[in-house]
Symmetry: C2
Amino acid sequence: MKKYWSERIQNLVPYTPGEQPKDRVFIKLNTNENPYPPSPKVMQAIGAVEDSALRLYPDPEATALRQAIAEYHGLKPEQVFCGNGSDEVLGLCFYAFFFPGKKVVFPDITYSFYPVYTELFGLDYEQIPLNEDFTLPVEKFLGGNGGAVICNPNAPTGRTLPLSEIRRILHANPDAVVLVDEAYADFGAQSAVELINEYPNLIVVCTMSKSRSLAGMRIGYALGSAELIAGVNCVKNSFNSYPLDRLALAAGEAAIRDVEYFERTRTMVMHTRERTAQRLRAMGFFVHDSNANFLFITHPDKTGEQLQQGLRERGVLVRWFNKPRISQYLRVSIGTDAEMDAMCAACEDILKG
Amino acid sequence: MKKYWSERIQNLVPYTPGEQPKDRVFIKLNTNENPYPPSPKVMQAIGAVEDSALRLYPDPEATALRQAIAEYHGLKPEQVFCGNGSDEVLGLCFYAFFFPGKKVVFPDITYSFYPVYTELFGLDYEQIPLNEDFTLPVEKFLGGNGGAVICNPNAPTGRTLPLSEIRRILHANPDAVVLVDEAYADFGAQSAVELINEYPNLIVVCTMSKSRSLAGMRIGYALGSAELIAGVNCVKNSFNSYPLDRLALAAGEAAIRDVEYFERTRTMVMHTRERTAQRLRAMGFFVHDSNANFLFITHPDKTGEQLQQGLRERGVLVRWFNKPRISQYLRVSIGTDAEMDAMCAACEDILKG
């Protein structure tokens, strides 16, 4: 019991992000960062902001950034909300659309921040077990709930639900919001953004942290009907009027407008992913098909913990979740070809021992 | 009724920030920004961040920034919390320390974001009327509540509560958190930070938006006992692990370490404030004594709305609150001497008409 803490937070267990090492230089494949720097146009845009501008509040409506995002996705600016990383955007959406007493559903194996939001906000929720092969039991999401959250491709498995199944879920939940978290969709999944004008209950959450190489700048956004976006804005404007600083606004706009750089770097990541998957399979790993910038892997001869520790000792950080059903797995972010070669060599070394 | 909005937000009235004009060049005295750019060391620190660093998540614990802030205030890093502007810090504190059913108290005339947070989070609250001269009726804050929030100097009046009175309030509320919002304290008020090691129920919230000229970078922080700071961290880590991007972290650290620049620019603002107050009084304005970077003024010959409109027509933006008790007043931020001379000349012109 912490004397001054509100009852609401006495038993809260916060989300634990992947390690950000400060001392030793690791090959860092543990937090799904992009191995390539952001577009050169991002640094130009940041450099073009004058020092005297920093004394002034940023645009609370992120008008220019929302315009650029709307153009990229073929939507209207009033269908775009921008926030301080997709984590903040998700948090604001959970508060805006889900309500205690109306059960929100999401899979048991998914982004582990979802149950943290529901605990934080006192929401009722149910975690639906994924099938044995980590596919989504779609029929369990067809109505009777107060909202659904689907990470697609899913984290940390990398498995993707086809758009036809997303459509079925949207269709079966006309009175509840279906949130599709597409943090990783740029690496090969079909986006649900094309369904937005058809389903007023669909909100899609995106991030610039992965495919735009801007994890360090905290830029996330949501896309949906004008009514849903107004709801997120209502919460944002009741919590923090200016979640994006002037440099983040400039960086995000430059990043979304540089389509050529985006296409080139995401293609490189996808190519490296397939090359790495092939090599790991040749070593006896079971590797799930992935449409994300990571692979979810397991090996019959070693535990997940042994593999993670062994890789760490060899200078490679990966993510291991000590959780039911997935404790034998590692989630390995996709780095450069050279980094993945080093990771594979370290795995070979571990498997020899 | 918005179909997909949670019941919690159906009737929410968000905070309205001051206008950020995009078209015409105004003398902008409406949002309490600093007329001087940030320290040159801030731009150096931003320029020193390499593009390849932006692909990596920032330090979720803001270790280096917290260390710099702790050193500046003579506290330990575990007594410092950093967030995305003091608005976010305030929001997280309200959620961490106040609870429905336990009434939180703050004045009727104060920062108008406080009642927005309490509505957003479903908190019970009471707005205690300030005395006729806008001083705080201290005896009404001496216990029997579930928390107290005091903006000191107060916004938008600029009036300051002496530290001895803050101490009385802390002493009388041993079981409730007293939040002192010192957004403007650097412009001449005595800070309550020196009471932190004495009162475990005291949390002080600060911002770099005003005295550090960094409104555009969104950096706020809270100072308090390690238990209180852990509580804010618990909420932050259940909502958004990384609220400060890499450039904001670098900017904030450089700003707090450049004490010489800080002292010089805040002294200039205070000097301009006193010079402006004198000139306005000579014109027949009633000007409250202010320890903030703004003046709260009223004139017997014109309404607040007339003055605001007249100034706007003459190219000067100031803030007018159409609210009970203060609708005859204007809040005028302190700009450069030249800007304030132009504002005073515009007032003279309005009073002639």
